[in-house]
Symmetry: C2
Subunit: 370 residues, 2 copies
């Protein structure tokens, strides 16, 4: 998608320097657009762990490129030593964040590709090729989510006779969370680009404010009308008919349709159900956990209290962190919650739209049947 009119992805190989991976360091958005060079696996791990990049699809792509960086610098003495280093790198990258299933999936995909070729330099090339393929596939999956999801918006637009379709989203499941297009935003961008009037209610998404910082920024860059609201507001908006549909992303979805997503998603799903508002989850199938039946078993990351107690913003032209709470008050920071499938009207995937249940999901992905 475009930044200041120029098309970008969220991760790419540095032009003219294929040993360097570049990312947008999203910690500085919306106040500054900072591109970061990653030259070693450790930097990729830090970028994931400290959330220079975030969002399940982008975490996966960054981990894959991280393995490529590891391959560039792994010992060349023997293939066994190289393989051992790659295994250790994968474990290190895997330990960065616990909830997104894409992380393990991307790492396993790269490791499997390495097994398929002989010779260290061939393995390095395979690591790069696989990482690039993962990024391309993620972008294409998101594009297809837009293709399939836009019909849900146009249908409501027809009923509203020219009035904007009001879509509420939580966190950032935009192109900044993916490689391009976004998951929850893909249908929105597709509708907007097709001239269908849309307006997005952007949940602020405390504590890290990915909505207020990232979703608002990327929608603004693309010219999509939007309004930032505190996370507390969505229920009121739905009670008053001011939301036509909710679209969110997901960090991990069970094959039965339970959805782990940014903390607070569950509350919006309850409000949508209580007010007969459509609640959709948009996801590339890389986000589906084919082993897990019960969403309540998805590990929920707990992050540091300082993310709740402090917040970063712009003051006097500088990005600074301010203390919000009494200095000695404890804080807890659960990063995700689980929305049970019965609160989800449908899933929007790269292969189409399906009910949020085992039958619906396996109908679109029959090769996953056991």
């Amino acid at each position: 998608m475009k930044v200041n009119g120029q098309p970008y992805r969220t991760i790419w190989l540095k032009p003219g320097n294929p040993k360097t991976v570049q990312i947008i360091d999203q910690r500085h958005l919306p106040h500054a657009f900072v591109i970061e060079d990653l030259t070693h696996m450790e930097e990729a791990a830090t970028a994931i762990k400290d959330m220079h990049v975030r969002g399940a699809p982008l975490i996966g792509a960054t981990a894959a490129f991280g393995l490529y960086l590891a391959a560039l610098h792994a010992p060349r003495g023997s293939e066994a030593a190289f393989n051992q280093a790659m295994q250790a790198a994968a474990e290190h990258l895997h330990a960065t964040r616990p909830t997104a299933i894409n992380l393990a999936w991307a790492l396993n995909t790269v490791l499997a590709a390495l097994e398929g070729v002989a010779g260290i330099e061939a393995k390095v090339a395979a690591a790069l090729k696989t990482a690039e393929q993962i990024a391309d596939d993620e972008a294409e999956a998101c594009r297809m989510i837009g293709v399939h999801g836009v019909g849900l918006i146009t249908r409501i637009a027809k009923l509203k006779g020219g009035q904007p379709v009001n879509i509420l989203t939580h966190c950032n499941a935009g192109w900044l969370a993916c490689v391009d297009y976004g998951t929850a935003t893909a249908p929105v961008y597709a509708a907007h680009d097709a001239g269908i009037p849309v307006h997005v209610w952007v949940d602020e998404t405390r504590p890290r404010n990915q909505g207020a910082r990232l979703t608002a920024w990327e929608l603004g860059q693309h010219g999509v009308p939007h309004t930032v609201v505190a996370d507390n507001v969505g229920g009121h908006l739905m009670q008053h008919g001011m939301v036509d549909m909710v679209i969110v992303g997901t960090d991990r979805t069970t094959y039965t349709g339970d959805v782990a997503n940014k903390i607070g998603t569950y509350l919006k799903a309850l409000a949508a159900k209580d007010n007969d508002v459509l609640f959709y989850v948009a996801l590339p199938s890389s986000t589906i956990d084919w082993e897990l039946r019960d969403g309540m078993e998805i590990p929920i990351e707990q992050r540091g209290a300082e993310e709740v107690k402090h917040i970063q913003g712009l003051v006097d032209g500088e990005i600074k962190s301010v203390l919000l709470t009494p200095a000695d008050s404890p804080a807890a920071n659960y990063a995700f919650d689980v929305t049970p499938s019965h609160l989800v009207d449908a899933l929007i995937t790269e292969r189409g739209i399906c009910p949020a249940n085992e039958e619906g999901i396996l109908g679109l992905f029959p090769e996953k049947k056991k």
Copy 2:
């Protein structure tokens, strides 16, 4: 309640200077404890409008003291001119904030008291006496809410055999919102003071962070164990059995039991219902709107977008406001939402506990039957 070990109310007559009213300017909490002098009605109106004071009971008490300040400075030429000035002052104070019913109630109570006495100086004395009576009555009502509500906590404490009772609260319905004790916090303080182990999950309460700033501060000052969480977290906590009960306050309650309270309360009520968690609303009867049947008719205040786009916190020893969103993203700021009575397990009032419906409420307040 105590601040640095010394007992305070939230509003009082300045010792040695009965023509000055003092309040805690809550905008500076938790970072600084600032006492503000009010000498003119206009200052009381500003204190309400710009939220130096907030919370339905304290808004009412401040408005009453504001009328006393107006009386001190009203024209002495004729009783008619005096009365006219008082009427104008009441209208000015009434226009400060739209949602809390206590505001109109307190103003009408003072005006009625003035009608009951003859002579300007007698009216001034009556204004002061009535304002002080309103403050005393609010404090006593809150104390009684604690007396009645503590049993709900002790019952759960017994079942938990010494484990802390986990209580979630939203916004600040503490003593800072009232004159003393608080509404939602009154049972909590009563339990804590009785040696019953309690732990409070404090919703941050965006956009103005009354939970993170005020509730956390006053619980900390009183020594009550608590943890600050983002507003998004409550549903997850309830899904995992980490909340035994919710207690919130209210800015206006219909006589049928619908509850207007800080934006986001409705989302917590939905989560409580979905997880079989008890949901209580604590209120002095001054918060009940005896005219309104349907909570959806309660006027919901919209405040400025800057409260969403900026936030205030402590940085380098100074309280500063930082920008959170893209500078040109719009924001909406609905201050309250309405929780329908069917999501409320019971109301805790100064006269006892009752179901959140007309029969229950009129059972405790039979004099209000029409």
